[in-house]
């Protein structure tokens, strides 16, 4: 019996001494640290974590991936209970909320982080989405959504529309023209005679609302008074534009150019594959969805400029919550992961369009830029990589791929920041619901006034 116990005692003694020695001995190697990251979607790319492990073997990174809405809700709970992950991702639709509560985060503009020294690498309008109302820096931007239109070459051809991206973009300089093109497409004999009832020109007419909003200068809040101002003319215009897409007459029985799919639902994924809709609004990160969920449509999609000129949907910031345990290590990771070098790598691997516009903005000085963790400075080839990037999944077969790098770079360079308030997302949601009601037959005026009444009642 003793012989059985002895090795166990020896082992535990050994372990204890090892632990003691480990804690007492001077820090020759950095102490092992586990960093926790709460994120959503594709914000943290797994291959980058493997690279970081090589660079910092002492850091173990644990990621918890949830949805962007759940994550923002969790952050409220964490802040109240004086806890928090080391790093949290915030989607831009919540940036309005968190920018008005910079006290919930580490102010990265202060020492030892001094985030303002790397500010020059990032697109100014994206950077401002991570700054608090008092000038604090609460988050560093990850990627840029940008906004273009993805369209189906085969279906356009079938409907007798041009298929070249430039000519396609010329079809719709404005949203009104876009709706008119949609009507033309659905009335085209080859499309109209198809027996399926589900076809549409765009996946959902309601998405136009968000796109038009993001092309303006004012959303749900007044940028100067910073108070809710959801009755303003720009919101109304965006609402009416989207409504016109939803109510545009096609046949005696049918109105609206949309296929009436809510994004990321089952029907939407299937429709993407089998041509239920010919266009969709495509921020850069959407391209990855098309590749992943509709691999059979290779060389059937192409990218054209969005009506109304530019815009952005999505993107996020990486933040360090106030009650994070390992702030310095978290900052080390963020400043590496979101550095121009790593952003370029992520772009090449996953197509997430970098927020570090030093990589593609010709007015910035790119060659020679250095990033922590990378020995070489950016070369001229690196600096041309984004603009020259072509994606062979998109564009017709044999064309060498669509020049998505140049398309999104041009779109992102011309953008301004739009002030977003605290309940931006909640308020926008009421208008989205109203557009859904219009799709189901409610009158436009009634839907709008119901939305405004519901928002007012919610006391934003």
């Amino acid at each position: 019996m003793f012989s059985k116990v002895k090795p166990f005692i020896m082992l535990s003694l050994g372990l204890v001494t090892a632990l003691l020695v480990g804690t007492v001995s001077p820090a020759t190697a950095a102490a092992p640290v586990t960093l926790t990251i709460e994120t959503f979607g594709d914000v943290i790319e797994p291959s980058a974590l493997i690279d970081y492990k090589k660079l910092h073997p002492e850091i173990t990174i644990k990621t918890k991936v949830s949805s962007m809405d759940a994550l923002s809700g969790n952050l409220i709970t964490y802040y109240q209970s004086h806890k928090g992950p080391d790093i949290a991702a915030i989607e831009t639709s919540y940036s309005g909320l968190w920018r008005s509560h910079p006290e919930a985060f580490v102010d990265l503009s202060k020492a030892p982080y001094n985030a303002n020294t790397i500010k020059k690498n990032y697109a100014a309008w994206r950077w401002s989405q991570g700054t608090g109302d008092g000038g604090q820096v609460i988050g560093i931007p990850t990627d840029i959504g940008g906004l273009e239109v993805a369209y189906r070459i085969d279906l356009f051809k079938k409907a007798g529309l041009p298929t070249d991206p430039k000519k396609v973009a010329a079809l719709w300089p404005t949203w009104d023209k876009f709706v008119a093109t949609g009507q033309k497409y659905l009335k085209a004999p080859a499309i109209a005679k198809s027996p399926k009832s589900y076809k549409g020109f765009i996946d959902s007419g309601g998405t136009i609302f968000n796109a038009v909003l993001n092309q303006g200068t004012e959303k749900m809040y007044n940028p100067t008074t910073k108070k809710p101002d959801y009755k303003n003319a720009q919101v109304k215009r965006a609402f009416l534009t989207a409504s016109s897409a939803l109510t545009a007459p096609i046949t005696t029985k049918r109105k609206g150019i949309g296929a009436r799919y809510q994004a990321y639902t089952g029907d939407w994924y299937i429709g993407m594959k089998n041509g239920a809709y010919a266009t969709m609004l495509a921020p850069a990160w959407q391209l990855e969805y098309i590749k992943r969920y509709a691999p059979t449509t290779k060389n059937l999609w192409n990218i054209a400029a969005v009506p109304g000129g530019g815009g952005n949907i999505g993107g996020s910031q990486l933040t360090i919550p106030k009650y994070a345990q390992h702030k310095q290590q978290a900052w080390d990771f963020i400043s590496w992961y979101l550095s121009p070098h790593e952003e370029l790598k992520i772009f090449r691997t996953y197509g997430l369009f970098p927020a570090t516009d030093v990589l593609f903005n010709s007015s910035k000085h790119c060659v020679g830029t250095r990033s922590p963790g990378f020995t070489k400075a950016l070369t001229a080839a690196d600096c041309a990589a984004v603009r020259n990037y072509k994606d062979t999944f998109f564009g017709p077969k044999g064309s060498g791929g669509a020049p998505v790098g140049a398309i999104y770079a041009n779109g992102a360079a011309s953008l301004n920041s739009i002030f977003e308030g605290r309940k931006e997302r909640g308020i926008t949601q009421y208008f989205n619901s109203a557009l859904g009601r219009i799709e189901n037959g409610q009158a436009v005026g009634k839907a709008y006034s119901q939305a405004v009444a519901e928002i007012t009642k919610s006391k934003p």
């Binding site: 809700g73 109240q80 029907d267 997302r425 189901n440 519901e454 009642k457 919610s458």
Partner: protein, 334 residues
């Protein structure tokens, strides 16, 4: 072996127990008073409190304290990220009383509850009767299968039912299309969305309920059936005149438990719509969904607490009603 072991220890344990408990009773009688329990008894009482205390301490910390706190919050305009909160008295309750969305959510909740409870009870009864059939092969297997929906993750259920109820590519509408029927826009209609949600709930709970029915059916004495069949009752008559009356208490129990669960229906409508709105026109917004909307989209914790209290009151009223109903029914029996 083991059964005899248990048998042999039991008799020896009995007198011991008797010796402890009988003594004080005698003493009590001799003194003639009901008060003043003996020292031993008091000590035993104290031990009893010690033994039951873990539950009550945990309940006080994790159950009662949050409840009381949320009652407190209901009297404030309580934004979670604000440093100070404004006391508003009963304003939240007044707002709620005049809030058409609240009443709509209440109606929806009841509609979904009725649509899910009635078919669920009938189907569970039917399933239980089938499972009771002695000719059925592999009974344990079927019983186990019945519980599978209950332990399936809510997200998986939402994905599968999302495929079933899809407007264009949903299985149900595809089948309807083959049969020449029109498509149903499940999510956008009021009643159709309630049916879709009720289907999800029914699918999830029918097996569990069937097993409870089965257990209480098995507890019914065989003699009753034998005498019924001697009187010439066929299987159907046996079911209606023997089984069903004997299950009265079980059915009431399940109605009470089902009401409490049914008034808190949340997961199914939340996943069906993908938000806390319960559809674009709130056509399937339920009470708990509306509560969550106040928390997540409006940061109105005070209002949400008021809704929570309203739900509690409604559940209490219905439970009281159920309680009297149960009393009536069990009164009939005696």
């Amino acid at each position: 072996m083991s059964t005899t072991d248990v048998g042999s220890t039991l008799p020896s344990a009995k007198p011991q127990k008797g010796r402890h408990s009988s003594k004080p009773i005698v003493k009590l009688k001799s003194t003639g008073g009901k008060k003043k329990p003996s020292k031993i008894q008091r000590r035993e009482g104290r031990w009893a409190y010690t033994f039951i205390s873990p539950f009550y301490i945990m309940f006080l910390i994790f159950g009662m304290a949050p409840i009381l706190y949320s009652v407190y919050i209901a009297f404030f305009t309580w934004d979670p990220l604000d440093a100070t909160h404004q006391y508003v008295g009963l304003q939240n309750f007044r707002d709620l009383w005049h809030d058409s969305l609240f009443w709509m959510s209440l109606r929806n909740t009841f509609s979904i509850w009725i649509l899910s409870t009635l078919p669920q009870m009938l189907m569970a009864l039917g399933l239980a009767s089938i499972l009771r059939n002695p000719k059925l092969r592999g009974r344990v297997f079927w019983q186990t299968v019945l519980l599978v929906p209950n332990i399936t993750s809510a997200i998986a259920i939402a994905v599968v039912f999302g495929q079933l109820f899809g407007r264009d590519f949903g299985l149900i509408n595809i089948v309807r299309g083959y049969l020449g029927m029109s498509q149903i826009n499940w999510i956008e209609g009021t009643i159709s969305s309630h049916i879709a949600i009720a289907t999800m709930i029914t699918w999830r709970w029918v097996g569990y309920n069937a097993l409870i029915f089965l257990a209480s059916m098995n507890a019914i004495s065989r003699d009753l059936y034998e005498s019924a069949s001697l009187d010439g009752a066929n299987r159907l008559q046996q079911f209606f005149y023997v089984t069903l009356p004997q299950l009265k208490n079980t059915i009431t129990f399940m109605l009470v438990v089902g009401t409490i669960g049914g008034l808190q229906v949340f997961g199914e409508p939340a996943t069906l719509g993908g938000s806390f709105d319960g559809g674009d026109n709130h056509q399937f917004s339920t009470l708990t969904l509306y509560l969550f909307k106040q928390v997540k989209d409006n940061f109105a914790y005070g209002m949400a607490s008021a809704i929570g209290i309203a739900i509690t009151i409604i559940v209490a009223i219905i439970s009281a009603f159920n309680f009297f109903l149960t009393r009536r029914i069990s009164g009939d029996e005696s």
